[in-house]
């Protein structure tokens, strides 16, 4: 079981969180083409390596936050920028 760094509550047990999948680019506005919309909606990144992903601290402060996690080792690295 992972421990996850909540930006408000610190390191907490995975059971307190809900995974929200890899971080997507911002939601496109209505001017994008259908295929751009479908790509945004349905093509999640799934690398072997670091992935930025969303977690919800459901049984804690309620924050949705982003972490950068290695999908093999579960190492949690600093976010870019």
């Amino acid at each position: 079981m992972l421990t996850l760094p909540c930006p408000f509550c610190g390191e907490r047990d995975e059971t307190e969180f809900v995974n929200g999948g890899p971080t997507k680019p911002p939601r496109p506005d209505i001017t994008v083409t259908n295929s751009e919309w479908i790509d945004w909606l349905t093509v999640p990144i799934n690398p072997i390596g670091y992935v930025e992903e969303k977690w919800w601290h459901a049984k804690g402060c309620g924050a949705w936050f982003t972490i950068k996690r290695h999908t093999v080792t579960h190492d949690i690295a600093k976010l870019d920028g």
């Binding site: 079981m1 995975e14 929200g20 209505i30 909606l41 919800w56 924050a63 949705w64 080792t73």
Partner: protein
Amino acid sequence: MTSSPLRFQTGGHINRDKPIEFEFNGKIYTGFDGDTLASALLANGIFLTARSFKYHRPRGVMGAGVEEPSCLVELLGVHAAGNHAATKVELRTGLRAKSVNCWPSPNFDLLSINQFFSRLLPAGFYYKTFMWPNWHLFETSIRRAAGLAAAPDERIPDHRYETRWWYGDVIVVGAGPCGLLAAMMASRSGARVMIVDDHREAGGHLRASRMIINGNPALDWVAAIVEELDANPEVTRLQDAIAWGYRESNQLMITERNPLEDHVFQRGWKARANRVILATGAIERNLIFANNDRPGVMLASAVQRYANEYAVMPGRRAVIFTNNSSAYELAHDLRSLGIDVAGIVDSRPSSAIGVEQQGLDMPLFAEHQVMTAHGGKKVQAVTIRDKNGVTTRLNCDLLALSGGWNPAVHLFSQSRGTLAYDADLASFVPDKPSQQVICVGAAAGQMNLAFAIVETAALTSSCLQNQGFTVAAVATPELSTITDYNIHPLWKVDGLRPGDKAFIDIQNDVTLDDIGLAMREGFDTVEHVKRYTTAGMGIDQGKIGNVNVIGNMAEASNKTPGEIGTTTFRSPFTPVDFGSIAGQRSGEVVLPFRHTPITKWNKAQGAVMYEAGARWQRPGYFPVAGETMQNAINREAEAVRYGVGVYDGSPLGKFDISGRDAAAFIDLLYTNDFSDLEIGMGRYGIMLSEDGMILDDGVTFKLAENHYFMSTSTGYADLVFRHMEYILQVERPSWQVWITPITSQWCNATICGPKARDVLVALGTSVDISAEAFPFMALREGIVADMPARICRVSFTGEVSFEINVWPRHAEAMWHRIMEAGAPLGILPIGSETSHVLRVEKGFLSLGHEVDGTVDPFDLGMGWIMSRTKMHAIGRRSVDIRRESGKPRRELIGLLPDSNGELIPEGAPITPNGDRVASEGFVSACVWSVVKQRVIALGLLLNGRARIGQTVFIRDREKTIKAIVTKPCFHDPQGHRLRG
């Protein structure tokens, strides 16, 4: 005090002052405190303890610990449990056990006839033979023949479990010499330490050996360290505890058996540390020759443990068969104990045999191998063979094997560390770690204890220093003679003939022939061979046999064992009681029910309680004496249609939404327009997920500018909350909106029916409740029955409804007032069954019935809810893209089935002409309608709206039911009644 013929009068670490009686296969025996069931059985001369899994061959104890493949027992009575290795069952007063997999007894087993048909039962036999017409025809009888012990039927009252969490700096797994040294160093450095060991007492291999440390028995050194550790409050020492799982973020799953506290049977620990030190030791392999499974054939390390730890000698004349130097330690011990050794059969050439043989005055057969073991229910002799094929027969009643040692890399591998094949060791060793873990001692592949101790001290020191601890130098203990480990791998003996029963996996009855067969049939990876032959499965997970499988696969395919690789090591390391994982979370507290303040009243009224969504307990219906369920539902439904009813709507999901951007937020969430909503009014909305499917529906009222009161379906309230928070925090972080879940802050009683208004009058209210002043879909705040209330005019029944929302502390009082005020009007409480009937009559949709994650509003005939001015609303774009394809969709329809008054199960498929072909729709709900006085149903049907008036066919198992397609509304389609 009883003494048994195979027990030494002195020695060992058992307590001879505490004899313990136990039962095995119906007979009473005596052992001592400190025994395991296996050691006590051996001491009593019980060698035939089990029958094998497939061939029902006689089997006895082979190992002395977690590696035991064959002596599995079922525990009875207060200790009832399924397949336990007898080597890990502590002898306790009242212990009752029986052999598994034999009937009526291991000595006279009726299915032992299988061993004579063994040539007909090769690997994959069941897969190949019992395919036609259907495996399930054969499954029951095969499982009975092959079965292991039965799990207890009932909860054992004495089996109480609990869970503990532990956090610290270092966890050491294994309290052998290296583990103890590491724990001692960590303890002295000031770290918070846990040390976990699966044995009842610390010491590991030292308990099984006659080693001298610093001039004294090794256990004196152990006792001193244990005393020092126990004196430090920062050290937690768990004995008789197995670390069986290595999880992410350095978490270990541990089951502690027999904790000291009387009230706990087992304790599950979830322990997490910055560093884990694995000192898990090594597990001995067996050797592959004919009849290597006979009772009396044992691992050399096990014989040594029985002799030294339990003072039991499981034979009078032993042969030792080895391919490495470690078994000589046993030879020296047997010599000291005065046991007759018929010979050491060493497959290594004489030149490889070193100092280990010094001082042994017993026959040594170098470059010899054991061909076969003789004897049926106990080994009586062995035939050995030299390199030229010359055979000799040696009489013996005990054959001790050592096929080399495998570092116990299980936990390291579970931590996702990689393994490498070490040719000098002829086994797999830890390679690259993936977490903060180090391996020390034999677990790291260092089989020489003297070196292992020095290396452990160095590794532990740097591990602690990396965490900022100051480590003082420790005195390295001085050991009595230690020889270097030397092994010449022998994956199988030479000259085996086809048909020889040379077992590579004792527990699963997998022979060397089976591995060869699997490879000839094209299963050439170790994972496939495992699955096809079952080698390495079962209770022991191939702890003594797996590397032999790999070695033999490598030999047969001219590869190295490293190229073959290992199968995946998964948790649990040893079998674990589910109870120890669940801890206190059993029965009703696993997922507690949620109750409204009315639950007690509902139960007192004799309501049949249901679980509604999100674990709410709700009344299903309120039967009066002798009434059927259908009659109760009809009575309740008629009350609402023709009089008045009331239901407890408190579980409905409720949210308070406020803030500068609240209006824009609601507009983004729902597909229809809320911007023109007036204060005090509400609107029904459908919320989509971004893929354009319906997520939820409900009514949202505007309380004030930028302040809304949203209701959601009961079961999806949590999901909607998560959805809304995601939109707000991730997609619109600059918006100022506050979402407050208030499901439990507002309880509600919904009064519904033509006489609902009369009840409200009788209750007394400050609100003008005339239809003109308080129209449908309006909200008013005021006093009802002397209590502050928020009244909503919404309707899920199709009749006039007043949803009286009050604070939870008033809910029960309000409920009683309503029942009193409504009594003269014949008010009835109604349950969820009746709500369901009423909503089906009206064609109101229900999440989980009509809405199953594959429908959009157009499918439900609710295209009007998709505002053309709100193309940006969540899910809108996806709905449009999908509909552009023009593919036919399943649409909501009503059904009038010709079912002679019988209800059709939900989910029954609608198929073309009622044929057994792919469905074109399904029945989503079916009820007896009190207004239509017939069975009605809702369903989703391909192009359904265009087929109104047509006949379709519903399949209910073997029946076909005709039904006429109608509009999905059977009562008051104009909605006059609910607006009244």
